[in-house]
């Protein structure tokens, strides 16, 4: 199964059930947003993006033996922001999610994205 492809389709379509199923129980999550992160915070932010964005597209995907690197284009009503995501995959589950946001554009076009 294309775990990475399923992951992107699931969170972009705001299917949190599918996203939870893909995450390993001990998944490690990192991001460069100015907020603490764990799997629940990650799901919350993904949900907010999926709900608020006009479109979310995978611009590029680089596949390695143990994961993938993805570049997303997050298109909001008044502008767009890029996000890079590094995934580690083992035994059909995602064991690591590292996200890098264009923080300047994200703060401007997705206000309140990571507020609690």
């Amino acid at each position: 199964m294309d775990v990475v492809g399923f992951w992107t389709r699931s969170w972009i379509s705001d299917d949190r059930t599918a996203v939870r199923r893909l995450l390993a129980p001990d998944v490690e999550v990192e991001w460069n947003l100015d907020a603490a992160v764990d799997d629940e915070e990650l799901l919350q932010v993904q949900h907010r993006i999926a709900a608020f964005a006009d479109t979310v597209a995978v611009l590029e995907r680089t596949t390695a033996d143990d994961g993938a690197a993805l570049i997303y284009d997050l298109v909001a009503p008044f502008g767009r922001a890029r996000m890079v995501e590094f995934l580690a995959v083992a035994d059909g589950r995602i064991t690591e999610v590292r996200q890098v946001y264009d923080v300047t554009a994200t703060d401007r076009y997705f206000p309140g994205l990571y507020e609690n």
């Binding site: 460069n32 690197a69 890079v84 590094f86 890098v100 264009d102 300047t104």
Partner: protein, 339 residues
């Protein structure tokens, strides 16, 4: 004990031109082992650029058609040969992402250049902002570039004003003036090609002693040799502008010149409306008055003082625990010597 290995990633000829003096400085300082990588869309051209400095890349990657394949090739390399740090330059997001993926520290040369347009049209700035988020150390060529990084909430302690290394590269190649005729070097994006070509034809008719050459197809060291002999450069390209100013040649910029604020503020570059009549008028003013042309050139380059490569090498070594971080470049332009 072997020295830490640092990979300098040359994705374009412009990258290689600016990384070459850094490799030489690293070798001279003997704290790091620089390893040159030739990659990108045309690794052969990158290799030729390194060769102009007497350097040979230790690793040549297959040509990458797009960024995803560039990331893949670098990831394959660094999975088996992991450097202590990776040095990337300018817009090389692919190399920075590949290094970040493997948790290799990223040193970013020429960090912080922005147009200042936070809009959908400027994907290049979006890539640069992403690069700033994955870099460990940000080496800025100008104070304005350093301020751009601070505006994006990059930690101030991770930013160092080193200057740009194009000046170092020009001095290393030491090109000699050879042309008898006056020469204008041209390098503009496709959208401005027609008015610039029209202006070039008109100028050639007005000034029989004038040569007009295109910078686009040239690699190094041919481009620097032509620049050393140039009377003037007409370009909207950042890299060509920086090289021209390093060679003490003034620049006319057709268009808004968004990424050339430092050069425009220094006075060595001037904006001109991108239509044939305006281009002919402005170029003619400079052709008709050597004093006016030399006054522009005397403003010098705001992008470096010829010591950037030493600072970059020292900063990279300090990041890896070898020595101290250097003092920043003095934040004032270097006056040029008009020819």
């Amino acid at each position: 004990m072997s020295l830490p290995e640092v990979h300098l990633v040359g994705g374009t000829c412009a990258d290689a031109f600016r990384l070459a003096p850094v490799a030489v400085a690293m070798r001279d300082q003997n704290r790091l082992r620089p390893v040159l990588l030739a990659g990108g869309a045309d690794p052969a051209a990158v290799t030729r650029t390194f060769a102009a400095f007497g350097l040979t890349p230790e690793v040549t990657l297959p040509a990458a058609a797009d960024r995803a394949s560039a990331i893949y090739r670098l990831d394959q390399l660094w999975a088996v040969r992991t450097p202590a740090a990776v040095l990337v330059r300018g817009d090389d997001l692919a190399a920075a992402l590949a290094a970040y993926w493997r948790r290799i520290p990223v040193v970013h040369l020429d960090a912080g250049r922005r147009t200042g347009w936070l809009g959908a049209a400027d994907a290049a700035d979006a890539d640069r902002r992403l690069l700033a988020q994955v870099a460990t150390v940000h080496l800025a060529a100008t104070p304005a570039a350093a301020m751009n990084l601070l505006d994006e909430h990059v930690v101030a302690g991770d930013v160092l004003l080193t200057g740009g290394t194009a000046m170092d590269a020009v001095r290393a190649l030491d090109p000699r003036r050879t042309a008898e005729n006056r020469r204008i070097l041209v390098g503009v994006e496709a959208a401005r090609d027609e008015p610039v070509s029209m202006a070039a034809r008109e100028l050639a008719a007005l000034y029989p002693d004038l040569d007009v050459a295109a910078a686009g197809p040239l690699g190094q060291p041919e481009r620097i040799r032509l620049l050393a002999s140039a009377y003037l450069v007409v370009t909207d390209d950042e890299d060509l502008t920086e090289e021209a100013l390093a060679a003490n040649v003034p620049v006319l910029v057709p268009g808004p010149g968004g990424r050339l604020a430092e050069a425009l503020n220094a006075g060595a570059a001037r904006l001109v409306e991108p239509v044939a009549d305006a281009l002919v008028a402005e170029v003619s003013r400079l052709l008709d008055s050597r004093v006016r042309r030399d006054a522009m050139a005397a403003a010098g380059s705001p992008y470096g003082d010829g010591l950037a490569a030493v600072r970059v090498a020292q900063a990279t070594a300090a990041l890896l625990g070898h020595g101290q971080f250097p003092e920043p470049m003095p934040a004032r332009p270097t006056a040029g010597v008009p020819r």
